[in-house]
């Protein structure tokens, strides 16, 4: 297919699953949920969109999926404008929304088959069966949804989103309120989808999950994208390291002579924590240990700890307040 304009050429860029340009959303009441958002989601990646409550994550997802009208800007899915070429765009997309919204009186089989039909796909009982088996729903296929537990309902919603074999899958807080077993099962399914080349966009409050699973991370706050980075690179760039010294004798306060170091006391004065930049040319550890010895402070043990994505996320959001 030929593209006739720079915008179309950009939208159809190879390797891009979702392209967002200059996106803004102001609701009728005047609340601006998104401001000038630019974002590219690469094909086949697992992208974690992180942000505090009310940051604009769900609005962004809703616009891409066609549930909310944008006020400004453009969104393309696999090169198709989500407004002008909505059929082609939406055929590619599956959505698991945050809220547990299901047809209470329908059976699992019927509701998943309904979703497939809604997306214009021919019946495929073999595929639906495999899907239900993968999500441990096969035994419940003839059960009415209202008879299922919350975790099972969440599985049904995932099955519905996957029923039309989407190439792009949005998971909006998929693990909220579900038990450990389901979370493990669900991540297995997500891994399987990624291996098959499905692009996955995930929002979650369980940031350790994003840290483990995501190829890239985007942080959104107050309707603006604050950063987009490879997860490993983000951890390397913004991650801090801490040296934790378990003291032989507890301290009441950090001695004045050591004030130039980034030292804090923890565990009721039994631990001395030194925070440093692991990527820096000089960590300052050698000098610190020398000064500790000179001050007569001894320790029984020591360990180091890398800051988590959650800590990086919290710092980023705090710094933007």
């Amino acid at each position: 297919m030929q593209t006739s304009s720079p915008l179309a050429a950009e939208a159809a860029a190879p390797g891009v699953a979702v392209r967002v340009r200059g996106l803004g959303k102001t609701y009728a009441g005047g609340f601006t949920a998104l401001q000038d958002v630019d974002l590219d989601i690469r094909k086949g990646e697992l992208f974690a969109l992180l942000g505090p409550n009310g940051a604009g994550k769900t609005t962004l997802i809703s616009i891409v999926c066609g549930i909310v009208n944008p006020s400004r800007g453009t969104v393309t899915a696999d090169g198709h404008d989500v407004t002008r070429e909505y059929r082609a765009a939406r055929e590619k997309i599956g959505l698991v929304p945050q809220e547990l919204t299901t047809d209470a009186f329908e059976t699992v089989w019927n509701t998943v088959s309904f979703s497939r039909g809604l997306f214009g796909k021919a019946k495929n009982p073999a595929y639906i069966e495999k899907l239900l088996r993968d999500l441990s729903l096969w035994d419940k296929k003839d059960s009415k949804i209202m008879m299922l537990s919350g975790g099972m309902k969440r599985r049904v919603m995932i099955a519905k989103a996957l029923s039309h074999e989407p190439e792009i899958l949005f998971l909006d807080e998929p693990t909220a309120g579900v038990d450990v077993e389901l979370r493990r099962d669900m991540w297995e399914v997500v891994r399987g989808l990624r291996e098959r080349g499905v692009t996955i966009i995930l929002t979650t409050h369980y940031i350790e999950e994003a840290e483990q699973m995501a190829d890239r991370v985007g942080v959104i706050n107050k309707g603006r994208i604050m950063l987009v980075e490879d997860t490993a690179e983000l951890m390397r760039k913004l991650g801090e390291k801490r040296l934790i010294l378990q003291l032989s004798e507890p301290l009441q306060r950090v001695p004045e002579t050591l004030a130039s170091h980034r030292l804090t006391l923890a565990a009721d004065g039994r631990e001395l924590v030194y925070t440093y930049d692991a990527q820096g040319e000089r960590t300052g550890i050698t000098g610190l240990l020398r000064e500790l010895s000179a001050a007569g402070i001894t320790f029984r043990d020591l360990s180091t700890k890398q800051s988590s994505l959650e800590e990086i996320f919290v710092n980023l959001v705090r710094s933007s307040q």
Binding site: C65, I67, R87, A104
Partner: protein
């Protein structure tokens, strides 16, 4: 056109009827039978004939129209309101489905249900009174157009309503009174001259009159005018729905 999506929504809505058979079919049939018992014996003994048609037979088109109107409105309004209420509307809005396809499937299912009900009531009426249908094709056309138009009206109400009270407001406070006052149980020629003129502002008069004409060749207003009015209501509903979808009113924020 996404025919599979239309079929999926249509089947889903029809399945809801099967699940609620008592409420959807049995209840209206019983209440219609009660009308025959009450109106047929209580009033029918005083008004034996209207323009040469026995009173019991005279009210059959009006009773069918009453059910057609109220059921079309309530089926269609509930059909689209319920997904809004439960939140499952997200799936319809995020699917590759056009507005036309959404309306066709929801209003089509509602119209199908009310036409089925109309035919069942017709068959029930035949057990109570001698019936004749002089213009069966016109009867079917009137039935179809009325069911389609009021299903579209129901769809509009379902979109507009943001609580269950509003959902019931228009059917209970507007549609049912207009139907009772629209000549369902009497000929408007039985009214005093002033009320004969006032009642012409009631759109249901034209629907009942045209429908009754298809049975007995009797009409309060000309058949052409009845047909014209139905088509006008249809056009108004279609224009309103087009506006709803163009603006995203109460669907897409």
């Amino acid at each position: 056109m996404n025919l599979r999506a239309i079929a999926a929504i249509y089947r889903f809505e029809m399945a809801r009827t099967r699940r609620t058979l008592l409420q959807s079919i049995v209840a209206p049939v019983i209440s219609t039978s009660l009308y025959f018992v009450v109106f047929g014996s209580a009033i029918g003994s005083r008004i034996t004939e209207v323009d040469g048609v026995s009173y019991g037979a005279f009210i059959v088109p009006g009773l069918i129209m009453l059910n057609l109107l109220t059921q079309s409105v309530s089926n269609a309004s509930f059909g689209i309101y319920f997904p809004k209420f439960t939140g499952t509307i997200y799936e319809i809005l995020s699917a590759p489905v056009s507005y036309l396809e959404i309306v066709l499937s929801y209003a089509g299912a509602a119209a199908t249900k009310s036409i089925m009900l109309g035919i069942i009531i017709l068959a029930t009426a035949a057990l109570f009174v001698p019936l004749r249908i002089e213009h069966p094709l016109w009867m079917l056309l009137f039935m179809f157009l009325t069911a389609a138009t009021f299903s579209l009206l129901g769809f509009i109400i379902g979109i507009w309503a943001d609580n269950f009270e509003k959902l019931q407001l228009v059917p209970l406070l507007i549609v049912t009174p207009l139907t009772f006052l629209g000549g369902s149980f009497y000929s408007i020629h039985m009214l005093p001259p002033l009320w004969q003129k006032v009642t012409l502002f009631n759109p249901v008069v034209y629907l009942v009159s045209g429908f009754r004409w298809s049975f007995y060749g009797l009409a309060d207003v000309s058949v052409g005018l009845s047909l014209g009015m139905i088509v006008l209501f249809l056009a108004i509903c279609l224009a309103t729905i087009a506006w709803i979808f163009r603006t995203g009113y109460r669907l897409r924020t």
